[in-house]
């Protein structure tokens, strides 16, 4: 075999702490190495040209590049090989940047280590072989999970691009958090005026199928060919018949149902339409509160409904949709502030969350846009906002910044003054995070034009006293303890991952961070991709984001899907397991262990054997380490390849040990 080795300087990134020239020199002495050199930037155009020329000139069979992590440039160099006419799998990378030059300063040790890594890559490559991808058709339909502003944007862009879109929303209406907001920063335009039309577009778009009150049950398949089972949850109303007239709501006697949309400020009826602008505008029954469903009494809604839409015996239903790509846009949820005993732990009615305050401010909210405090319905004069509640707090496991609460707090302070000109707002903050276009100017306006008092310090406790709340904080700029007697306290609660995010991730086989936010493929260069081909992210399911960022990501994810679907066929990854039919004894152990059900039992001349279904196999290699015969081998990670690497490192004693 003729292997070429290219050792990258990466400017001084590698060359600074690794003697790359020496590594190349030593590499030349390795068996099977026909050529070795160092190169300034392997991934740059001249770098790649150098590789191509060497392959052509020296008729190389394989290439090793010693540079950065394969998670970064493996695809780049595979394409380079292909351009030179070599099979793309005759390639190995030695990670001498992230794993060597960046984590150690001892040049001698680093150089030795780099050489070992090169030798391992060469040894592995000698055991490698050319792999050929198969082509398969793709199903150009896309599933969008979550109907917040990010999901809506993604769905609309895909649909406008001509794709069939399946939009699955957990609640009975799309709109997400944004539909609950009164106005939006930094322009203070009305949230429903800008979101409403988009929601209507979703309803009317011929390419979009909307499943509200639905959740993804199960996902099978692979990029280009997913099968998605969707549970349509029982709403006890036939949505084909319901016209959204609202008669049932008027008459329903169960008026104490939890009002999720209004964040439990007030209550709603057991049968309800989530909010007046809901899409779809359909009624559904909350089974926890319906007298008919609990006690088999009442039945009034069925009597008044002009279209006979009520179906008390409706059951959950499962539908299956074939799609080729998936956009996840499940958003975030809000931190449960009752964990803070010092803020009353939920005991004080006039301590409310920022989202509850949005509902109080909203003209279509439960108070018609009049700010009335929950305890006695009085209009508050002094309002205290506390920032970073459930954010940047290690002690409760939330060390991250939620990103948008500084901004929405300023917005709420401004709106407070608009609503109640003789009110006074105070904001307790630790730092102000406003790095966007017109953002800091917005914060300044809250202070300069609206007279909001910003106090730099955290609040340690609050307690009721004579009908108001004493808020005790620090003004660290003064170096003093301060107290404010407030009529209303609004907690700028932070964002946390959506309820059930980790469960959904497991269905999608994507990873999530310690807090349940989904992991992008690369934090800078692949922000909407995941490590699972065909699954993309949009909006705050990936981490807290405001509306502009969420919308931007929605569009980005849609663009990625359109790119994926711009071809009619995809190439399968040939790094899958393959059964050596001669060695296989048909014990079935691999079938039991494969997490994807990718292995089937076949009959081979009257004998039971195993066979891998290529398109289903994900290439984990669990079967390979299970098979007692070594009959099933994961391509490009075969036993021989890995052992070749081990042998390079560990050959101290008996040359021929045990095999």
């Amino acid at each position: 075999m003729k292997i070429g080795v290219f050792v990258c300087h990466c400017g001084s990134n590698i060359a600074g702490t690794v003697d790359v020239v020496k590594v190349a020199e030593e590499a030349r002495k390795l068996p099977d190495v026909a050529f070795a050199s160092d190169t300034m930037y392997a991934c740059s155009e001249p770098g790649q040209d150098g590789i191509i020329n060497a392959i052509k000139d020296l008729d190389l069979d394989g290439v090793v590049v010693a540079s950065c992590t394969p998670r970064m440039h493996e695809p780049t160099f595979r394409k380079t090989l292909e351009r030179a006419g070599l099979n793309r799998y005759m390639f190995e990378m030695a990670n001498i940047r992230e794993h060597v030059s960046w984590v150690g300063k001892d040049k001698e040790a680093n150089t030795k280590k780099a050489l070992d890594l090169v030798a391992m890559a060469v040894a592995k490559l000698t055991q490698g072989k050319a792999l050929i991808s198969k082509k398969f058709d793709i199903n150009k339909r896309v599933l969008v999970i979550g109907g917040g502003v990010a999901g809506i944007q993604a769905a609309l862009d895909c649909a406008d691009g001509g794709l069939d879109v399946i939009l699955v929303e957990k609640t009975t209406s799309i709109g997400g958090k944004m539909s609950k907001l009164d106005k939006t920063f930094p322009t203070v335009d009305c949230s429903s005026c800008i979101l409403g039309p988009k929601m209507v577009d979703v309803a009317q778009h011929p390419n979009i199928t909307l499943y509200a009150a639905s959740e993804v049950e199960k996902i099978d398949g692979y990029v280009g060919n997913y099968q998605v089972a969707i549970t349509k949850k029982a709403t006890y109303v036939d949505w084909d018949a319901c016209t959204g007239c609202g008669l049932c709501m008027e008459k329903c006697p169960s008026k104490k149902s939890t009002d999720y949309f209004n964040e439990e400020v007030g209550t709603t009826t057991a049968i309800n339409i989530l909010f007046p602008q809901a899409i779809p505008k359909k009624a559904s029954i909350d089974a926890d509160f319906c007298i008919k469903l609990i006690k088999d009494k009442c039945g009034i809604c069925a009597k008044v409904c002009p279209t006979n839409a009520i179906q008390y015996d409706q059951q959950d239903e499962i539908v299956t949709e074939p799609v080729g790509a998936i956009i996840v846009a499940t958003g975030y949820d809000l931190f449960d502030y009752t964990k803070y005993g010092e803020y009353g732990g939920g005991r004080y009615p006039d301590v409310i969350t920022s989202m509850q305050y949005e509902r109080l401010l909203s003209a279509s909210g439960p108070t018609g846009g009049h700010v009335k405090r929950p305890s006695d319905g009085k209009e508050p004069k002094t309002i205290v906002f506390i920032q970073c509640v459930g954010s940047r707090d290690k002690s409760i496991g939330r060390p991250y910044c939620s990103g948008f609460c500084c901004m929405y707090t300023a917005k709420q302070a401004i709106l407070t003054k608009d609503h109640m000109p003789d009110s006074q707002s105070y904001v307790f903050y630790m730092d102000i995070r406003a790095p966007g276009k017109l953002y800091d100017e917005f914060i300044r306006r809250a202070m300069e034009e609206y007279g909001t008092q910003y106090v730099r310090g955290r609040v340690s406790m609050l307690y009721p006293k004579n009908g108001s709340l004493v808020v005790r904080g620090a003004d660290t700029l003064l170096g003093k303890q301060v107290e404010i007697e407030a009529d209303l306290v609004v907690l700028a609660v932070g964002a946390e991952s959506a309820v059930g995010a980790s469960k959904l991730a497991e269905k999608l086989r994507i990873s999530y961070d310690n807090y349940g936010f989904y992991m992008e493929s690369h934090p800078k260069l692949r922000p909407v991709e995941t490590n699972t081909a065909g699954v993309f992210l949009a909006g705050s399911c990936q981490g807290p984001k405001d509306i502009p960022q969420s919308v931007g990501q929605g569009s980005a994810a849609a663009a990625k899907v359109l790119v994926l679907f711009s071809k009619d066929q995809l190439e399968s990854d040939p790094q899958v397991s393959v059964v050596d039919i001669k060695r296989c004894v048909g014990c079935g152990k691999c079938i039991e262990t494969c997490p994807f059900g990718a292995i089937e039992e076949i009959d081979f001349r009257g004998m039971t054997k195993s066979n891998v279904i290529e398109t289903i196999c994900q290439g984990c290699g669990i079967c390979t380490s299970t098979c007692p015969q070594g009959a099933i081998q994961l391509q490009n990670f075969t036993d021989n390849q890995i052992l070749a690497e081990v042998n390079v490192l560990c050959q101290q004693t008996l040359e021929k040990s045990f095999e």
């Binding site: 005993g341 732990g345 005991r347 406790m461 307690y463 009721p464 006293k465």
Partner: protein, 308 residues
């Protein structure tokens, strides 16, 4: 039953003096509830705050000597009524989980300590082992009509990972026990605020300020008396109430009970065993108000019944 509720008992120094009524009533109540207290033989002072302001090993050693004295006793743990002693014992035990610290502490001691016994307050044992329900069954003289502000003090539940009992911001153990006696608990917001601790002597102004705030807050929320679980709190609020009044120009006359005294009353124990007379602010007023309210309620229910 009694053997399962058997504890090594650490009374603490103030139980012999300024908080003698706490000591007496704790003993009496435990006895009535079937909790056996075996006094730790020849116990010594835990060092209280002054010791840990000098050095942590010294402080731990003073506490640990007592833990050592309790080792070998056949008990479920060490208990004490005083939160200050409790903090010291628990902190010592907590820190001694670290090998080096334990070695350093043991080096100061005559005999090394194994540090195996759990440590609790008497309150925790009554709350968790007896519980409000069982306590309620035993009440013979309900204290219905009494309105109390429950005050826990700053260190009974803090810091939570060392003290490991009840809620550190809004503790409820005493609330529930008092409610079991028929008492109405007012929502007292300053349950865990500091009363001024041991600064009564050296910096009286601090205690006047902090304890004064507590009395004001209790009055604000309509309490007619306060109930505490700490000798220092009780002393600052009760014994120094006169000083507070003159310093702050207030005229509080707020009786300050130990929770054990009230449990004892409700269980029908002898008042003399509960040290009621030893309180500084006369508690009679609270009881008279209670009786008046009881009578009122009775009258009301009679009226309502005849009205129907």
């Amino acid at each position: 039953m009694s053997s399962s509720l058997s504890y090594a008992y650490y009374p603490g120094c103030s139980g012999q003096g300024t908080s003698i009524e706490y000591e007496q009533s704790s003993q009496a109540v435990c006895k009535a509830l079937g909790i056996t207290l075996q006094e730790i033989p020849d116990w010594s002072c835990c060092g209280s705050t002054p010791a840990h302001t000098v050095d942590h090993t010294l402080s731990a050693a003073l506490s640990a000597r007592n833990l050592g004295q309790a080792e070998g006793m056949i008990v479920n743990g060490v208990i004490t009524p005083c939160p200050s002693c409790l903090t010291n014992l628990k902190t010592a035990s907590h820190r001694m989980k670290d090998e080096t610290f334990r070695a350093k502490t043991n080096a100061l001691l005559e005999k090394p300590v194994n540090n195996t016994l759990p440590i609790m307050s008497v309150l925790q044992v009554i709350y968790e082992q007896v519980g409000p329900e069982k306590l309620k069954e035993k009440v013979v003289r309900p204290l219905t009509g009494m309105k109390l502000a429950p005050y826990y003090g700053c260190i009974m539940n803090r810091p939570p990972d060392v003290m490991d009992f009840d809620d550190c911001e809004n503790p409820i153990a005493m609330d529930r026990l008092m409610e079991a006696l028929g008492i109405e608990i007012t929502p007292f917001p300053l349950k865990v605020e500091c009363c001024g601790a041991s600064y009564g002597v050296a910096r009286k102004d601090i205690v006047m300020h902090l304890s004064g705030k507590l009395l004001d807050a209790a009055e604000d929320c309509g309490a007619e008396a306060m109930v505490t679980a700490c000798p220092l709190c009780q002393m600052n609020l009760d014994l120094r109430q006169g000083q507070i009044n003159s310093a702050n120009k207030t005229n509080h006359a707020m009786p300050i009970f130990y929770y054990t005294q009230l449990i004892g009353m409700a269980l029908g124990l002898d008042e003399a065993d509960l040290g009621m007379k030893k309180l500084c602010v006369d508690p009679g007023k609270a009881f008279r108000k209670m009786e008046a309210r009881k009578a009122e309620a009775l009258e009301e229910s009679v009226v309502r019944r005849s009205g129907n």
